[in-house]
Amino acid sequence: MSLQVEDMRNKAVPKLGSLIKQRTITLDNAKDWLRTIYEIRFFEDKVFELLGQNLIKGASHLYAGQEAVATGACAAIQIGDVIGSTHRGHGHCGAIGNKYAKDDQARQTHWNRMMAELMGRETGYCSGRGGSMHIADVMNGNLGSTGIVGGNIPNAVGAALAEKYKANNAVVVSFFGDGSTNTGAFHESMNMASVLKVPLVAIIENNLYGMSVPFFGSPVEGAGCAANIEHIAQRSAAYGVPARIIDGQDVVAVFLTVREAADYARKNRQMCMIEAKTYRWYGHSRSDPRVYRTKEEEKAWKERDPITVLSKKLLEEQLCTQQELDAVRDKAEATIESATQFGLDSAWPDPADVTKDVYVAESYPDTLVTNEKNASSQAMKATEAFETAVKTLTGQTKKEITEKAKEKIRSEFGMNVLLMKEALIEAQAEEMRRDKNVILEGEDVGIYGGAYGATKGLLQEFGTKRVIDTAISEAAIVGAAVGAALRGLRPIAELMYVDFITISMDQLMHNGAFNRYMFGGHAKVPMVVRTEGGVGRCIAAHHSKSLEPWLVNVPGLYVVMPSTPYDAKGLLKAAIRSDNPVVFIEHKATYGQMGAVPTEEYIIPLGVADIKRPGKDVTIVTYSRQTMFCLAAAKELAEKHGIDAEIIDLRTIKPMDINTVAASVKKTGRLMTVAESFCMCGTGPEIVRRLIEYKFDDGHTGFDYLDAPPVNLAAADVPPPMSEPLENASIPTPDKIVAAVKAMM
């Protein structure tokens, strides 16, 4: 394929007869295409009718008119290849399901489950969790569909990356609309796919409009315009990849071009673009009066109905009789009619199951949990011993003293003393050695070794296939991780600053966290987003925030924030092994922190808090760097004020180990939370809420055991300021913690 945009509409499409003769296809193939097109059409017509009767509720982006694109494309790819779909996805889901259906019965079941899903029934593909906009059988070659325009494209890139990495020889076909090609996600994705050279076929279904806005103008007065080029395929030049423009109404044209493109992608490990010109028969959704397009335009397109185009070929080439074609139509209609009945007869999901399948259920053996508690306190002791040794030992240089102290800890405790970043590197390296599905991608993670040095050396050991430097494309970095995770890898995506997660939030939340639930529990997204946050380097508001409250607000995510090298290593290893998406937030001020780490292999269970200092007077719940501040404050409280504070390091913010917190408050009667994030709707208030509502076996609640109002220390409600005194003023510090504890006693 040349890099020139080729407009295939200028070339004659080969006759069906000759394709059959060349054994490119069989006549049955062609008849099956017609059947699929009919099925999609009848399905959409039925959906429209049922929407009108309120038997189907919700979204209604119908695919009628565009059937040749999904049908031709799905026919052109191989079993094992994958597609990614959109909000207008019934056609994609329908066509790929037909491809995977072994016989007529399986095919009927497929349409049954599609119709049931639209009706919100338990028997639907996603058990009524997804509906029209998220309809997908993720078990069979479908990555799923997204309601966020453009949001599906990064996932397809990640999936293609995974297929390439696994050397499966599979390609990924990503469908998306003309409207989505103006999103950042599109650009980030196309760029990333082309740079990483992944086997992706990007199919733009240019139906000329994104809702009401024409892609490239319209004769209707007042209608807007979304782009300054007519052919989206021209954008391929920006990525240096081949592109074709095809007639999206002709299934044969679609089939042949997608087949060629898939071959190209497979062979060359490179993406290519296909722009299919097509048209939707219905409005954008059912309430769309279609004022932005003319009746003449509609009429002209409808003359090129994919059903008519294909039927005509079959008749004119005398491959089929009218009766045969009618039989195909009737069969398709019957399929959709019984699918409708199936849906109506199907049970509703049980409201008691509403929280089912948000997470992959995970648990740890009890022994692991108890052993880890011992290991943790051992590590604390060793770290303290190390700190004392550094203070007491003598030597020529600091380095010499440190080395001596490390040696002392190694011989006395059998533990290494590591920097936080070294612990992180060890965790990643060990897991990458353990599981070849673990890959690492992100900005500057390769030769540079990560902005905070937490990936140093990994490129050297694991190579560019597994340690992937990416362009500055946060949405695509996270979105690709989602796609790769969906296809069986365990990607680690590094975001240089948690502040940048704002750009990836759509990918992280809507696809990373929600996919499992939306797709009825059939998908899992085992990925880790590693990032860092917090103040401490005077780099101001765009590089210093603590955004974990945003993240714990997302059902489907885990959020982990370590405070010591010991925790960082064990938690990161557990996070990488977790089948749930984990955001792992390191603190920028802790990378240079030293701590003892066991020499033998270990993991720390997610969702288990650690009592970093036992005490009896007040419970302080904290995490990340603030744990260190709280320990310093506790020391002063004990030495100077006779107050014995218990410090609980949550380690995992979500799921939150409220049991440990409650047991502690039962003992102390006082609760303080200390976090570096903003307070409003933040983690501290959430801990308090959970504690107050906590139910003990004795019938009492956490509220009953409180002897003083709980106190939340958190970041001031200001954008983190740069200047050091202001920066310190904006967060809890040991002196403030001491004062606040004294005030509550």
Binding site: E49, G52, Q53, N54, L55, S287, H700, D704, L706, D707
Partner: protein, 543 residues
């Protein structure tokens, strides 16, 4: 076969649509997808397409008409098919059935999407009457409250206020005679009496406006009075439940409960929990200096020094104190005096061997879900006795002794405010377990101040048990209107000669005070003996 076409929902929020243009006429042939009407919805004007092929046989709506989603708008049929009126009639009302799907049943939808039309709030919205007929701001219409569960109307016996009087909340306004008793009606609000809408002797249904209260200088116009009298729209304030008058036997109003000095006690939840565990009275400890609330430490300190234990609370009254008699005590005084003056009593005493009953009770309570008290057994035995000796249910009525229709037994209950003896109704038909449940409810209601007038009406005997206070035996006073009263003492270990041996048995004293006007010694003695035997032979008690 005719096929009806209904107005589809053309958008998620669409509930109805207006027919803007009709693009078909009767006789037209239409194909699926042909535009039939232009419909204006809440959002836009949309084309309504035909869901099926056929000939237009009937158009059921006119241009300009607005109809609900699901309304039949058109009937399609064969070319010259006649559409019967019965068919058309059968269509209306079936708004959700599928238009062109073969007899699809509408499945139950999890949550209803159409809210039920709200009924106009008649009481709260003033009618658009002229200014003069409106009740001036701040004035309140007081209506006749329901003073007992069964009360439907009441007669004004006495009016205790006159126009111009200032009344406080709780002041008695009228004496009202109901089907059961004569009761005092208290004012549910404060104000000046502006209008009295009723006269002494009048019998009125409950909720009839009877009085208007307002601020001192407010004038109530005649028009307004007329409008209220005629059941007009002025807001009628019903006395709240709390201000319902206390009946002859009811428990005191909560306002007279002792309020701890210093108002609300501020204590942490933990302090409260620990105080309850240690029996510490929070009203008797104060927070440590400069603290705003009592904490666990304060409670534990108090418990250690023993300064505030609830058990050691000092007696309620001090020497030389003048104690206001509460209403309940006044009623008790009146009744007891009446009893002593009008009921010539004789007194019987008997000892009951409760040994077996104690055992069976323990057994029953181990397995059963309701706890059965000794009183429940005694009430059951008394009921059985009364069924055998009905004369013991009688009361003097002129020249007759009137026996009770049902066996209703009073149970004397001591509350914070004093003594109440609500009635356990129709004990004759109740099993032991049912009695236990009923009594528990009755006691709870008594303690919660929730007795109804009905709870306090009737009864032919009262059971009064002071065993819990360590009393062996006492002579109670008959409640006027009843025949007798049974005084129950404590169950005590006593040495009894039995079959030539001396056995330690659990013995309880029963004292029966009897109205001699109704029953004689022999009746009462047999009755009491029956009760004793019933209690001693525990196989009498099937729960």
């Amino acid at each position: 076969m005719p096929k009806e076409v209904r107005l589809p929902q053309l958008g998620q929020t669409m509930e109805e649509g207006t027919i803007v243009t009709s693009l078909v006429k009767v006789g037209d042939k239409v194909s699926k997808g042909d535009v039939l009407f232009e419909i204006e919805t809440d959002k836009a004007t949309l084309e309504m397409e035909s869901p099926a092929e056929g000939y237009v046989r009937k158009i059921l709506i006119d241009v300009g008409q607005t109809v609900a989603v699901g309304t039949p708008v058109l009937i399609l049929g064969e070319q010259n098919e006649e559409i019967s009126q019965t068919y058309i009639d059968s269509l209306s009302g079936l708004q959700t059935s599928a238009a062109s799907t073969p007899a699809v049943e509408t499945p139950p939808v999890p949550s209803s999407s159409t809210p039920a039309p709200s009924t106009p709030a008649q009481q709260s919205s003033p009618s658009p009457a002229t200014g003069t007929a409106e009740l001036p701001e701040g004035s309140r219409v007081i209506s006749l409250p329901q003073l007992g569960q069964t009360m439907e109307e009441g007669t004004i016996v006495t009016t205790l206020i006159k126009i111009g009087d200032e009344v406080k909340k709780g002041d008695v306004l009228f004496e009202i005679e109901t089907d059961k008793a004569t009761l005092e009606m208290e004012s549910p609000a404060a104000g000046f009496v502006k209008v009295i809408l009723v006269e002494v002797g009048q019998t009125l249904p409950i909720n009839t406006p009877i009085l208007i209260l307002a601020a001192k200088d407010v004038e109530i116009s005649q028009a307004c009075i007329e409008s209220i009298k005629s059941g007009g729209a002025a807001p009628v304030i019903k006395p709240t439940e709390a201000s319902a008058p206390t009946t002859a036997q009811s428990v005191e109003a909560p306002a007279e409960r002792p309020i701890p000095t210093g108002g609300r006690v501020f204590a942490s939840p933990r302090a409260k929990m620990v105080a309850a565990q240690l029996g510490v009275d929070l009203t008797r400890i104060s927070p440590s200096p400069s603290a705003v609330r009592i904490t666990e430490a304060d409670v534990r300190k108090a418990a250690q020094t023993g300064t505030a234990s609830t058990a050691a609370a000092p007696a309620k009254y001090g020497p030389g104190q003048r104690i206001a008699i509460n209403r309940l005590q006044r009623i008790v005084a009146e009744k007891m005096l009446l009893s002593k003056q009008t009921i010539p009593c004789f007194y019987l005493n008997i000892q009951v061997d409760m040994t077996e009953l104690v055992k069976i009770r323990t057994k029953l309570n181990k397995s059963g879900d309701v706890k059965i008290s000794f009183n429940d057994f005694i009430i059951k035995a008394v009921a059985m006795g009364l069924q055998h000796y009905p004369i013991m249910t009688g009361h003097l009525d002129g020249d007759y002794i009137q026996l009770a229709d049902t066996i209703d037994i009073g149970l004397a209950i001591s509350t914070e405010q004093g003594l109440v003896a609500p009635i356990v109704k129709d004990v004759g038909t109740k099993t032991l377990r049912e009695i236990a449940v009923y009594c528990k409810g009755l006691i709870d209601r008594t303690r919660a101040d929730k007795l109804s007038l009905d709870d306090l009406t009737g009864g032919c005997i009262t059971v009064s048990n002071l065993g819990g206070f360590g009393i062996d035996s006492f002579i109670p006073i008959v409640v006027p209107g009843q025949t007798s009263i049974l005084g129950v003492g404590r169950i005590n270990d006593v040495c009894l000669p039995m079959d030539g041996n001396i056995m330690v048995r659990k013995v309880m004293n029963l004292n029966l005070s009897v109205d001699h006007k109704v029953a004689n010694g022999a009746d009462a003695a047999q009755f009491l003996d029956f009760v004793k035997k019933t209690l001693e032979h525990t196989d009498n008690f099937t729960t």
